[in-house]
Symmetry: C2
Subunit: 156 residues, 2 copies
C-alpha cells in the first residue's frame, strides 16, 4: 500500500515530469478501426532508472523501456491500470488535476462494447488532451474518425 | 508552514522538473574574480504559471520570470535561501538527494569571508553538479579558477 506521503510525492513527480495521455490509434484489425489508448509515461535519463524502478514498485503496473539518446521510459498502458493510478493520486495532483478530471469523464462513458457513437463521444473527450498536453503531434482526432466512418479508410 | 504532505509533493515536483545548481560565475568586480551562485530553478510552460506561483507562496523565496518560447522560470538564488529549501525537502527527495548532500557539504565549508583556497575548495565541490545535472555547458570549473589565480584573467 502507498502511504499518503508517497502518493503526494508521486503526484508531484507526475506533475513535474510525467504525462497522462488518451491517444486515438489506427488499428486496422479493430472492429471500428481505432483504439483509444490510455497511458501514463515517465521519462528520465537512463542514469536515473532507479527512480522509475521505485515508481514501478509502488504503482505496480507498467514496464520500463530503454529508449534512444540514453533515456528510459516508464509506461503504464490500459484504461483500468491508468484509472486506478489516477484515482490514487488525484487528491494530491495540482498541475494534472484537469487531466485526471477529463480521464474520469472518459472512464464514465467507456462502454462494455464500443459502437461508432460511443467511440466518437470518447474521441471528443480524448481530443481534450491535445490542449492539456500542448500536443502538436496529435493527428488522429474525433474529426478524423468521423471522416473514416463516413468515407472509409484513406491510404493507411 | 509547510505540511509534510506539501513537502513531499514539492520534493516530487523538484525531482521531476526542478534543478539544483551551484555555478561558478566570472565577476570582474569580485575580490577573487568569481561568484559561487547557488540556485533552484523550476521551468514550466507559461500556461502553468499557477503551479510556480503556488510553489513561490510555499517556499517564500525567489521570483518568477517570463522567458522565451512561452516558458516561465521560477528561480531561487542565494546560499541561505537555497539551503533552507534543501533542508526542508531533503527527507522527501529521491532523485536529487545527491544534490542535497553535495549542497550541504558546500554549505559546511562556506566561509564568512572567501579566500583563494576556500574558493577553490568550494569550486571543486560545485564541479560535482556538472555530473549530477548532466551539464555540458559548464565552462567555469575549479581548473579555470586555478588557472586564473596563477596567470590572471584572460580575455574576458
Amino acid at each position: 500500500m502507498l502511504s499518503n506521503l508517497e502518493k503526494s510525492y508521486i503526484a508531484g513527480f507526475l506533475d513535474g515530469d510525467g504525462c497522462i495521455m488518451f491517444q486515438l490509434i489506427r488499428k486496422k484489425d479493430y472492429t471500428f478501426g481505432f483504439q483509444v489508448r490510455a497511458s501514463i509515461v515517465f521519462y528520465q535519463k537512463s542514469g536515473n532508472d532507479f527512480i522509475l524502478n521505485w515508481l514501478k514498485s509502488k504503482l505496480k503496473f507498467g514496464y520500463l523501456r530503454r529508449r534512444k539518446y540514453g533515456m528510459t521510459e516508464y509506461t503504464i498502458v490500459g484504461l483500468k491500470q491508468v484509472m486506478s493510478i489516477i484515482k490514487l493520486l488525484k487528491p494530491y495532483l495540482k498541475l494534472k488535476k484537469k487531466h485526471a478530471d477529463l480521464a474520469l469523464r472518459i472512464e464514465n462513458i467507456w462502454p462494455e462494447k464500443f459502437n461508432e457513437k460511443k467511440l466518437l463521444q470518447i474521441a471528443k473527450l480524448a481530443d481534450g488532451f491535445k490542449k492539456l498536453n500542448y500536443s502538436k503531434k496529435r493527428k488522429i482526432t474525433r474529426e478524423v474518425i468521423l471522416e473514416y466512418f463516413k468515407n472509409g479508410p484513406r491510404n493507411d
